[in-house]
């Protein structure tokens, strides 16, 4: 198999992995591992999940973890 064909197949497999997880773009698993966009270290693109991490969509988010201080104030100035 030529190197070019291998690369194409690897690309197809990668895409299949990404899109098999969920139908919605919001569920694209790679997006959950992107670093802070201002991070300028070596992993500037799409880092792989670390061992033990699942590449599937995370659980439903908890909410309300911000916004409890102030007692009606918003803290702006």
């Amino acid at each position: 198999m030529s190197r070019g064909i291998k690369l194409v197949l690897m690309g197809v497999a990668g895409a299949a992995l990404l899109y098999s997880c969920s139908p919605g773009i919001g569920a694209l698993p790679f997006i959950w591992f992107l670093p802070n966009p201002f991070f300028r270290g070596p992993a500037v693109s799409t880092p792989s999940p670390t061992p033990g991490e699942s590449a599937t969509k995370p659980a439903q988010s908890q909410r309300g973890g911000f916004g409890s201080t102030g007692g009606g104030l918003s803290g702006t100035s």
Binding site: P37, R40, S68, T76, S77
Partner: protein
């Protein structure tokens, strides 16, 4: 510098509402007034601009001093946040805006009262509303105001550091009219710069175990927030910020500048500087015979007390649990019974314009009137 009477534009309320500025009355009192305006000489504007640039430079040196010497306890910042703040500072995570409050009378150098570096408001009225007033009322005059253009340029800088989708979330409390308008205006300027912007209410910010998320379970990668860092660090989700999976505007190093402990720190580092007032972490003889006591983490003038011979004013509030700083009292100029304060905007680290606020009281608070300004190009005071 002077205050001039000015005839309101016919249908001024409608004109304001057409701009989306529908909070010109707050809690039953006029927040915007165009029955008056402030007039400056070009040399005075130059002086304000130079002082703003100088002060921001001093503030950046103060941040470096705090970070390098790990003065977290002095700044009442949890030491567990030190490494993260140092990370975003060393990485030069970008800033969009901040606002100095300055005492200035046109006669002596502008004096720093405080730096609203984290969650400044009164942005839209300074950038847009007073600009339209100028075009209608003083079309031949000028205004110290390039806030709008500089905001768009600042967002373009953000865009260059983001992946292609360029999405920024904008968090605020939707039931606070001024906050909502400020956040929406920031979002509008981001859109004009080519970014995508998605609003979210502060309590709706989610955490899915790996990332902050919006209500569609999309990850939040960049969050422009109108919610103070000193509250975030102490709330349930604060610890997740330390994962550094999202960027914040303003960045966490602004926690050092929006902190009133900055004032004694600056005075310690630059004693006698013409744009600073003596300030200390306790009562001190160098304060002179009058001083202002301010909560280390305080907003909108709350819990501020002014004390001096024949002088006393105090504002109630919910701040002060972390302690106070003491700053030498420097009177605001008074025009027809109105104490005037200059809000000098810093966009992406550069002076960008001013917004004038005034109040019958010495302590400026969240409902103090916003008054438009102008200056005559080439004219001196």
């Amino acid at each position: 510098m002077r205050r001039e009477a000015s005839a309101p534009r016919p249908g001024w309320q409608r004109k304001l509402e057409e701009l989306g500025f529908d909070y010109y009355i707050l809690e039953g009192k006029g927040y915007w007034t165009e029955h008056a305006c402030y007039a400056f000489g070009a040399d005075e504007i130059d002086e304000l601009e130079a002082a703003t640039e100088t002060l921001h430079g001093l503030c950046l040196k103060a941040v470096e001093h705090v970070v390098a010497n790990k003065l977290w306890q002095r700044m009442r910042i949890p030491p567990s946040w030190g490494d993260y703040i140092e990370l975003v500072w060393r990485r030069a995570d970008p800033t969009i805006c901040g606002r100095f409050d300055l005492a200035y009378d046109g006669k002596s150098p502008p004096k720093l009262l405080e730096y609203n570096a984290d969650t400044p408001t009164a942005l839209y009225e300074a950038a847009v509303v007073q600009w339209y007033w100028l075009k209608d009322v003083k079309p031949d005059a000028d205004q110290f105001n390039s806030i709008h253009e500089k905001l768009i340029e600042a967002w373009r800088g953000i865009l260059r550091r983001l992946p292609p989708e360029g999405l920024v979330h904008f968090a605020r409390f939707d039931d606070q009219p001024e906050d909502f308008a400020t956040s929406e205006y920031l979002r509008d300027t981001a859109l004009q710069a080519g970014l995508a912007g998605k609003p979210i209410a502060v309590p709706q910010i989610g955490w899915n175990g790996r990332r902050f998320t919006d209500t569609d379970e999309m990850p939040i990668r960049v969050l422009s927030k109108l919610y103070p860092w000193e509250w975030m660090v102490r709330e349930e989700f604060g610890v997740h910020v330390l994962t550094d999976t999202a960027a914040f505007l303003e960045p966490a190093w602004k926690m050092i500048l929006s902190n009133k402990m900055l004032l004694p720190l600056l005075w310690e580092g630059f004693p006698g500087h013409p744009n600073l007032l003596a300030a200390f972490a306790a009562e001190h003889p160098d304060l002179g015979n009058a001083h202002v006591k301010k909560p280390i983490f305080g907003r909108e003038g709350q819990n501020v007390t002014v004390v001096g011979p024949g002088l006393f004013d105090t504002a109630a509030g919910n701040y002060g649990a972390e302690g106070y700083v003491w700053q030498a009292y420097h009177p605001l100029p008074v025009f027809e019974g109105n104490h005037a304060v200059v809000g000098s905007w810093v966009i992406e680290g550069k002076p960008a314009g001013i917004g004038m606020r005034e109040d019958e009281r010495r302590i400026t608070h969240n409902n103090s009137r916003f008054v438009p300004h102008y200056f005559e190009p080439g004219g001196s005071s």
